[in-house]
Amino acid sequence: MIIRIMGEGQYDVPDDDLAALNVLDSEVESAVLAADTSAFTACFAQLLDRVRSHGAVLPDEVLVDSDLVLPPSDSSVDEVAALLGDEGLIPG
């Protein structure tokens, strides 16, 4: 399973990790919906760390779509809400 962390690149993460990632992902989602900055900061960092520590970085020259995409690591809770709410925010 290929996961992109925006601004960092793509990681090949074992499929076994998906369940654990989904748990963290839904925590991040509730934090974004509640606009809860401190909860967001904590669980978003955990989610990113898990992808980075369990995944292998894809070589730069590999051209492949990601199955899942995560916002840039320095995003604020508002920025993530904006990325999800309006497609126009992602250029290209």
Binding site: D25, D65, L70, G92
Partner: protein
């Protein structure tokens, strides 16, 4: 729906839209390649812009640090001359300068982070653009327009996603740098106006002027003493004795009486005398 999946869908729909625009699918390859090269240029410009901002902040930090050192020196001179009021004023201004330097250090770290991120993004994009070019040439040489469709879809995989990602990274870096440049401009103005500047500049010339007056006074005194020595070689021992007896009488005025008027200033210890 989960955040990871939603973000993934947004990216894929963007890639599909780009593909749908094409009439002869093989033309999309060249068009997309041109766009990729443009974006690569844009990222490189972004790296250069952030580096320029970083250097500007570095220059400001150096200037402010020099001013801080100068004010520190003025505080030392003020104390040595028994003018605690001047020393206090110099140190007060120095603490304002120090606060500005700390703010700039934070900005500097942020700019360095952005520069590093954009540099890596530009390297990643360059590798992917190169990989895309190879595939593009293969597809054009091997397939007819009809056959090319699926192959082109595959070639677009990843590159479109990378372009969206890098595009956003450049945009974020531009936004951050723009707000920092506004602040940097404000600091340049402050420095130019002299509000943060060393105490020797208008309108804050009082410290330097008074210190200069003190040191000029003691220079004159020591030169006078030297001249006296030359005129009356016989009285030399007396002159030294006379000079040596003056400082003890003068030292009480060096006590921390901030309200002391400059009248006390012509009695500093005569260290300059040989």
């Amino acid at each position: 729906m989960s955040i990871m999946k939603r973000m993934g869908l947004i990216f894929r729909s963007k890639a599909n839209k780009a593909l749908d625009r094409a009439e002869d699918p093989r033309e999309t390859l060249d068009y997309s390649y041109t766009k990729q090269l443009e974006l690569l240029q844009k990222v490189r410009r972004g790296v250069a812009d952030v580096a320029t901002s970083r250097k500007r902040v570095e220059l400001q930090m150096t200037q402010l640090q020099q001013q801080g050192d100068k004010l520190h020196g003025q505080a030392q001179k003020g104390l040595a001359a028994g003018r605690e009021d001047l020393a206090r004023e110099a140190l007060t201004r120095r603490s304002a300068v120090t606060a500005q330097v700390e703010g700039l250090q934070t900005q500097h770290a942020q700019l360095q982070g952005e520069e590093e991120k954009l540099t890596l993004a530009s390297q990643r994009l360059q590798a992917k653009v190169e990989a895309f070019r190879t595939r593009k040439e293969t597809i054009k040489a091997t397939y007819t327009a009809a056959e090319a469709q699926t192959k082109i879809g595959e070639a677009f995989s990843g590159i479109s996603e990378e372009m969206s990602d890098v595009g956003l990274a450049v945009q974020r870096a531009e936004d951050k740098t723009a707000s920092m440049q506004a602040r940097a401009g404000a600091i340049d103005e402050l420095v130019a106006s002299g509000a943060l500047d060393d105490a020797s500049q208008e309108p804050n010339s009082d410290i330097e002027r008074e210190l200069a007056a003190i040191s000029a006074g003691s220079d004159v005194d020591s030169e006078l003493a030297a001249l006296k020595d030359q005129l009356e070689p016989g009285s030399k021992p007396e002159a030294i004795e006379g000079a040596a007896t003056t400082p003890p009488a003068a030292t009480p005025t060096a006590a921390p009486t901030a309200a002391d008027p400059p009248a006390a200033t012509d009695a500093p210890p005569r260290e300059g005398q040989p």
